[in-house]
Structure formats: structure tokens, C-alpha cells
Amino acid sequence: MVYLTRRYRFSAGHRLHNEMLSAEENQRIYGKCNNPNGHGHNYLLEVTVGGRVDPATGYVFELPRMDGIVATSVLDKVDHKNLNLDLENFREQVPTTENLCLEIYNLLRAPLENAGAESGLRLDRVRLEETSQNFFECASDRAVQRP
């Protein structure tokens, strides 16, 4: 089993705000991220897939196919978008990077694993940097168990 990681970048705007909470609570929990006008980040996305290496090509998965799936399933939906308003799942869910990481994992898993079924391809991990100082990871059970 070999694990391939590819990095992608996108830029998006968001506002962290929960309608169920009072204005004071929102301000206390989300601080400057609660600014009603929103703000944005340059996100760095790392996608890791694991599978068997095809002896005919030496590849786990063809990169152009991986790039195409990530573009169609994720980047086209989030790049230069307002996460709160342009993404259906964030109309009512706060677009924290935790939630966004999980959302991206769920968007990618089926298309990648179906496309790579021949080599037993699995989506191993999604790692999302909001800034260079913070990042979040969503991993398969197998990746979590690996030291």
C-alpha cells in the first residue's frame, strides 16, 4: 500500500456565526471571525489516497484523474466563493475549518474510491490549512490507527 498526497489551493470567504446563539455569545465564541461582513482565507488542501501500485504504470492513481475529481467535487464549489452563502451545507452549519474539512472529506470519498476501485484506492486523509498557523485533519480509521 502506497500513499499519495497532493496539495491544492483555494480562496474563499466566510463568517462564523450561529443563529441559535445571542449576539454576545457569537461575539464571545467567534471573536473577529463573527464580523457580519465576512472575511476570507487562502486555504491549503492536502488530499491523501492509498492503494496498490499498478505494475504497468507505477502509479497508485493517475494524477490528472485525481486533479479532475478534486476540481469537480471541491475546488469548483469553494474557490472564490462565500462559504456561508454559496454552499448549501453551510446555510445552517457554521463554516469553521473543522466543518469544511469534514465536508471536503465527504465530497471526495465516493468519487475517488469509485474511480480507483481497481487498485483498492481509499481516501486516507484530508488536511486543511486555514492559515499557516492552523490546520485540521479528517482521516480514515486506517490512518487514525497508524502511528
Binding site: T5, T57, L63
Partner: protein, 135 residues
């Protein structure tokens, strides 16, 4: 268990080609990587060794030994080389980053004096890397 990682860099050229494919299939599968004249990358290798800390030294292993091993077994073999033509393992196998990681594991695992090889990570570019854990 503590994990120690050491980095090394090497630069090499390669191309991807399967003689059993037609020229059209080779071009379709490997794209610009199929150019028979080759192209190159600056690779970064990360070798991670796991082990317990020796109470006498406070170390999992002597990093100088690991540096020397990586230099002798990998960098001298691959640095400023054409991988397809000059590294025997790639005479008939594509030097993809996947195969490179598995080959480097084979070169290093039996020669480690202390600790246990945990992971080989090979960066082909800063946006593309491969991990191999030996299984």
C-alpha cells in the same frame, strides 16, 4: 515509541514509459512525463525511524549514522542521475514517485543499525509526495 525524521535532497531526471503500451497509450497515460529525453525534479526524501530512547544517550539512534546511510545508499545512487538509465531497479520499472519510495525502503530497511524504519516520504515537488510504510 519515538519517531525521528531526517531529510535529504537529491536531483534526478526520469521519464515514464511502458514498452508494452503503444506510443499513443504511453502518451495518453503518462502525458508530458513520457518525453523520452527525460525531465528532472529536486526530490526531498524524509526517512522516519521509530524506536525507544536509549537512556544512556537520550537518542533513538545516532543521526550521523542515519545521515551517512541515506547519503551512501540513496543520494550517491540517485543524485544527478537519469533514474531510468542509471539506477538498476528502474531499468524495467517506471521511476514513479510511488516506486521510488518503495525502492528507497528496500535500500534502507536492512541496513538500519538502530530503530525500525517507519516511513519513507518522497516529495517530487512541494505539492506532491508519496508515503510508504513497508506494507
Amino acid at each position: 515509541m519515538i519517531y525521528v525524521t531526517r531529510r535529504a535532497e537529491f536531483s534526478a531526471s526520469h521519464y515514464y514509459h511502458n514498452p508494452q503500451f503503444t506510443p499513443e497509450e504511453n502518451r495518453r497515460m503518462f502525458g508530458k512525463c513520457n518525453n523520452p529525453l527525460g525531465h528532472g525534479h529536486n526530490y526531498t526524501l524524509e526517512v522516519t525511524v521509530g524506536g525507544s530512547i536509549d537512556p544512556k544517550t537520550g537518542m533513538v539512534l545516532d543521526l550521523k549514522d542515519l545521515k551517512t546511510l541515506m547519503e551512501q545508499e540513496v543520494v550517491q545512487l540517485m543524485d544527478h542521475k537519469f533514474l531510468n538509465k542509471e539506477v538498476p531497479a528502474f531499468a524495467e520499472k517506471n521511476p514513479t514517485t510511488e516506486n521510488l519510495a518503495m525502492e528507497i525502503w528496500k535500500l534502507l530497511a536492512p541496513k538500519l543499525l538502530q530503530g525500525k524504519l517507519h516511513r519513507i516520504r518522497v516529495y517530487e515537488t512541494s505539492d506532491l509526495f508519496v508515503d510508504y510504510y513497508g506494507d
